[in-house]
């Protein structure tokens, strides 16, 4: 459960690959209920992250901070500040602990603070809120990730671009929840991280 420079690098590499492979799908999810750019924005961000991590950071805090700054300055949409804040809060927390569960707790608080969303608002908070406790309990599985992402489908959006659609936002998976799902999947697939 300890985050190291090596596991962080592998985790981000896997996350970046998933975003790259699914950028069209993520943007397609974003088309009916958003501005259709989530996948491309995230892919631009993760390409910048990979570039930053190609020279090995001195410690976990530096690594997390570099990831945050790369996302904040390249993503452009709402996901830049949201993912950026998540990694920035993890960076801050990492000066006192490198326990992944605690870092993710700090990240979730940061996302909630930045976006002002609550569980049930059909945002990435829904996925993080369900899965962070699973990480802490050592019970995260692929199925739980899928279930958390799919659960956003029937929600009515209260935050973000989809909220302008009101009831019509129902029936679509929230794109930020889907990309967050990939982040947790990448966590599962990173040896020695969980």
């Amino acid at each position: 459960m300890t985050l190291t420079v090596d596991t962080l690098t592998v985790w981000m590499d896997k996350f970046g690959n998933k975003i790259g492979e699914n950028k069209q799908y993520l943007s397609d999810l974003d088309t009916p209920i958003g501005d259709g750019d989530h996948g491309f924005n995230m892919d631009r961000g993760m390409t910048a992250v990979k570039e930053k991590l190609s020279s090995k950071p001195e410690n976990v805090t530096d690594g997390l901070k570099n990831i945050a700054m790369a996302l904040i300055s390249t993503v452009g949409g709402a996901s830049g500040p949201l993912y950026g804040t998540a990694f920035l809060e993890m960076a801050k927390k990492s000066s006192s602990t490198t326990d992944l569960g605690e870092l993710l707790d700090a990240a979730l608080k940061g996302i909630e603070m930045r976006g002002g969303a609550n569980p049930g608002d059909k945002t990435m908070v829904d996925v993080w809120d369900k899965l962070v406790p699973e990480v802490k309990d050592g019970t995260l599985t692929e199925d739980k990730i899928t279930a958390a992402v799919e659960a956003t489908k029937d929600m009515v959006a209260k935050k973000g671009r989809a909220s302008y659609l009101g009831e019509r936002s129902k029936g679509h998976i929230d794109p930020g929840s889907q990309s967050s799902g990939y982040l947790f999947e990448a966590m599962l697939e990173t040896e020695g991280l969980l």
């Binding site: 300055s73 452009g76 709402a78 500040p81 949201l82 973000g160």
Partner: protein
């Protein structure tokens, strides 16, 4: 004049266009803008917003934005800026136009904020 305006929009042309309207009623109010991403695409940029704060001749800024994610970048820029920045959740054009007119007339911040209140449409 001690107060200035900063306008943040997802679209560079929206951000650059608004001062044309505002200058008609507020030629002496310092205004700076941050429109689009660093690549000039649709979106907002924390760096551009920081620069708009710094470039503004005023040392206290009233900031206005168009849609949600602009607010997030604005808030991050505010946390990093050394200037005092007030953020308003008003309808963009009506809000910034109201503030510009009142600042030009030399009205104090309290009065400006009282007039902005009914224009609030975002939470």
């Amino acid at each position: 004049m001690s107060y200035g305006l900063t306008i943040v929009s997802h679209v560079p042309e929206i951000a650059e266009g608004l001062p044309k309207l505002l200058k008609q009623v507020a030629k002496d109010v310092p205004m700076t803008t941050a429109g689009g991403t660093n690549d000039g695409e649709i979106g907002t940029s924390m760096e551009k917003i920081m620069k708009a704060f710094e470039d503004n001749a005023a040392n206290e800024i009233l900031a206005f934005y168009d849609l949600g994610s602009a607010k997030m970048n604005l808030e991050m820029a505010m946390e990093m800026s050394t200037k005092k920045v007030h953020l308003y959740d008003t309808a963009l054009i009506e809000g910034v136009y109201t503030a510009a007119s009142l600042l030009q007339a030399g009205v104090g911040l309290d009065e400006v904020e009282a007039q902005l209140k009914p224009l609030t449409i975002k939470d």
